[in-house]
Symmetry: C2
């Protein structure tokens, strides 16, 4: 198992030197988030991740969750680690102070999340989903509902879930059939079966608060007839067991430490959250949070796998450098000397560190939305969030999976053996391209709903950010990045207009272009963040610094990214512009005649 | 689990209509391989694969091999299936007649292998490795050794292995330490530990014949001091147990049905094959065979996953077509209507079918080498084999893995659940990019050893094949393929020369370009085979055919490939031409300062 080391220096670089966290905290009125406190939280979070969570990661995979007689037992140590997490006050970092939270910025909680998630993704999902449930309640719950649930969710004594999927539908929630009927006391009887409920049943907390999509009896068909309900495992008023039971847990490729439950609601007592038939809209708070959380999974996989591969590449001996022995005292050179091993490591590194900047940036936009910032700032933040969330989710999970696979590849045959832990990262992170909306769904959300749906105006919020950066930082050293970045963001706007015109003639063009469009967007987005990192590094090097190697590494990784990763964007552009005909031209039968 | 259906029609199309098997069999003097016999063998092989092997595929994954007290038990049913396979005479198809073989072309055995491998990869490795052992003996064994081992290997009563890897070396066999000391009777005492020995121990055959790399006492260091030995599990002269024992079997990401053994040789009795210190050269017979076999694993994963995904895409309902309902009588459209689902299916299909043509073509070159063909034909065949083997191995395993992942993706969240069998394909095929030489090693073999090592002359054998095809088939319908194909094969030659010049100044340029060079080569190679398939389809359509849909599907898939897959080649070109500096420019320490 790769030994996880919290990359504190990289995190602080991203936070302060690249994204200007100090100004940001001032802008959102987060007076408490002073540098000293923030550093202490990150350092302590890193220790918790390294010492408590990371050692449980392989155990979680090997032992998995057990399901016996309707009860789920989490892997050895999970429960105790959760107790420590709650006792340490970690769940309440960004919680509302009136419910016992610490009122710190959501973006800071995300930094701690990164540490937790990278050390042990399966474990992190238990508190992760709780946080989503809390956000949903906080936005749409009545005051009474908040009083009932928020304190215990904030402290972590209770956990939460999101219950959307049914066996016949996940992507297309319009097909869901779970019913909700009104009781005399104003509560609802919820009946139906939900599947794929992460952290849906476990032994880590005394109650589980399910956020459930269901239909009222008179609801219109399709997605406009879905309402949102809160359904506790244990009824809060009388402490009785609610009629929601775990039917089984799934056998999955990975994330064995997290219980993916089938939940049977047999007239379970629930309470409506938000307006009737607007459940899907309300659920989007949770979904957007979960999507960024899933983006984090991709980035975390890249980071974890990079750490493992780098350590191995420094130790494993094989062959001599093509340029002559570099470690002549050893029987062969360490494989880090080989160009292709470096290509793999730098791909991982550029995805992990670029992804970190993208995710932190997104959560900072989220901070602005719920802050004292100006209306104009909020409009911009919302636009940026809306465009960058599907990009971060799909692009970072796709490239994070690639990075995890490259980490295995660095290990050669040993990468395939469970004991090394590298293949677990691949299996665990494979789900990230599927849940919370597949890559295809994110791509439709981005291109169809957000970009073309706004006639390109949402995209322009982000290209303006890039434009301003290019204008303000066009120094001599930075030209190697500014020039291609400028070319790409202009081109991005250009072919978006062309796609819009094509789509007016034929709607299939949207679906045919969408995933390549998203990947193009992702590569350019990360190019922007790598330019900002290079810029921060150049600035640091101009001031006297003792960390020359650290900053030079950022510039060299940026150069690697621009020369060896960004060229992929062009290829996605060519493919998406090839049009829908080459896909739609086959009859369904022609895909396989004898199959 | 996707239900495997042997794609007989596609196989026959590739064999006869694309690759001209009838002429080929005449050319190599395989008089027995008449159309009727070949069709019967393929049909029967398909039935065996569908009915006997495919049903054991999931059992193999779930139950895996068990290791107790030095004994390996294969999964339930594996042993019985092997018995049926032997009784059916399948192992001996291409065997030499004087050892009881049927003397049919190796390329025909590969077709049957495709069926067997696609239905159940883990199972297929037991007979697969035996076949490699047989080829090695046949080429380098003494007449006495052949008399001792060939008949039972040919019948399948015994199986074989290849024992190369040790814990400290796989890629760099120069580091291996297993020793071989001469006994008074001319045999050798072999001592050392080999790991990752596929089919290294099992309960399916009465003896296992290990082909082992080891060092003689006076051998020079490095790869020039390695010799090859044959070491049976049971001594053939007296039936006693040889001193080779299985220490354990590995816990792996996939291929659970195959025993990956640690083998301890404690003075085991062995016999030298081939000249002393030329073991690595002799082993290349086995390795080249195994590399094509591994290429087949990539192709098989694409085919199997495609079959599963296609069936699901025709059944699963979600959303409406963007162009309006296509199945208005159902609550939603089958997902095969969605452009992005089609993109994934066609990617799989184009890799599976293109890969089939490439592999069959390679094995036909192998036929020529061991046939009555002219010397000139043999020189060409050898050149083609030597260039196309690393391309097939690395490119088809990389794209086969991509295809397997796309198959999972078509299933959405269900793809992650073990019961559906789609994630098993991903786990099983992940090894194919690692064993028998990683993608990186194949790429160095291709660019460094074969292409630049021959100053481009080996490559020209293949570009001439493409050139002749373009010249002879430049019909109106075919221009859409001929034009880009011509552009690419010329460009391929062009930048190969440039790389050669760069490499003369700096050897690191080879390693820095190699994997992208290989992927470029793969995309262009498959483009050639897709052009030949389109050409065959056009020809069939010109003659009166009732299979219009079948042939049109080939042309449309070729078009998809040219418009949506081939553009990736350009991106690999740009990346490889970016040079070694962006990789070599970081000190080892700069990869991560605090990690």
């Amino acid at each position: 198992m790769p030994e996880y080391k919290a990359p504190i220096r990289d995190i602080l670089f991203t936070l302060y030197e690249v994204l200007g966290a100090e100004q940001h905290y001032r802008k959102i009125g987060a007076e408490d988030a002073n540098r000293e406190l923030v550093d202490a939280i990150i350092t302590e979070g890193g220790k918790f991740a390294e010492e408590v969570l990371a050692p449980l990661n392989r155990i979680g995979d090997e032992q998995g969750c057990k399901f016996v007689d309707g009860q789920v037992t989490t892997p050895p140590g999970f429960k105790e680690a959760y107790r420590q997490y709650v006792d340490g006050g970690w769940p309440s970092l960004a919680g509302e102070t009136r419910f016992g939270g610490q009122g710190l910025p959501e973006s800071l909680a995300t930094v701690v999340n990164e540490l937790v998630c990278t050390a042990n993704w399966s474990w992190s999902m238990y508190p992760g989903l709780s946080h989503g449930a809390k956000l949903t309640l906080s936005e749409y719950g009545t005051e009474e509902q908040k009083q009932t649930y928020m304190s215990k969710l904030t402290s972590g004594e209770w956990t939460g879930t999101m219950c959307l999927t049914e066996s016949q539908c996940g992507t297309d929630l319009g097909l869901l059939t779970t019913r909700a009927e009104l009781n005399a006391d104003g509560s609802y009887r919820i009946s139906g079966t939900k599947i794929f409920i992460s952290a849906g049943e476990h032994d880590m907390a005394e109650n589980i608060i399910h956020i459930v999509l269901a239909r009222l009896p008179d609801a219109p068909a399709g997605t406009k007839g879905i309402s949102l309900f809160i359904v506790p495992k244990i009824n809060v008023d009388d402490g009785s067991r609610n009629q929601v039971t775990c039917g089984s847990i799934e056998h999955k490729m990975g994330i064995h430490g997290n219980a993916t439950a089938v939940l049977n609601f047999d007239g379970a007592r629930g309470h409506l959250i938000g307006p009737p038939n607007e459940g899907l809209k309300c659920m989007f708070t949770f979904m957007n949070f979960a999507r960024l959380g899933t983006a984090l999974q991709g980035m975390a996989a890249a980071e974890q796998s990079f750490q493992g591969a780098l350590a191995y590449a420094r130790e494993r001996l094989a062959m001599r450098s093509l340029a002559g022995p570099k470690y002549p005292e050893q029987p062969a050179d360490a494989i880090i000397v080989h160009p292709d091993v470096r290509r793999m490591l730098l791909t991982q590194k550029s995805i992990a560190e670029g992804g970190r900047a993208l995710i932190y940036f997104c959560t900072m936009q989220g901070d602005i939305l719920h802050s004292t910032a100006t209306e104009e700032e909020k409009v911009e933040a919302e636009a940026l969030m809306s465009v960058l969330t599907p990009i971060a989710k799909a692009f970072l999970t796709e490239t994070g999976y690639e990075a995890a696979n490259l980490g295995m590849q660095v290990f050669g045959g040993h990468g395939y053996i469970a004991e090394w832990g590298m293949e677990q990262i691949v299996r665990d992170t494979r789900i990230s391209m599927l849940y919370e909306g597949t890559t295809g769904i994110q791509a439709l959300d981005l291109l169809g709903r957000k970009i073309l749906g706004s006639r390109g105006s949402l995209l322009r919020y982000f290209t303006r950010v890039i434009h301003r950066f290019c204008r303000d930082n066009n120094t001599k050293g930075m030209q190697q990045f500014i020039r291609p970045l400028r070319k790409h963001y202009r081109e991005w706007g250009g072919f978006t207009r062309k796609l819009g015109l094509k789509a007016m003639r034929n709607r299939e063009e949207v679906g045919a272009a969408s995933v390549d469009y998203l990947m193009y967007s992702g590569y350019v987005t990360l190019a922007y963040f790598w330019a900002t990192m290079a810029d921060a590094a150049y600035r640091a090097l101009q001031n006297d610094t003792e960390e020359t190697a650290f900053y030079e590494s950022k510039i060299k990784t940026a150069r690697f990214y621009y020369q060896r990763i960004l060229p992929r964007a062009k290829c996605h552009k060519e493919i998406m512009m090839s049009g829908a005909k080459n896909l739609m031209d086959l009859d369904d039968e022609q895909f396989g005649s004898i199959r």
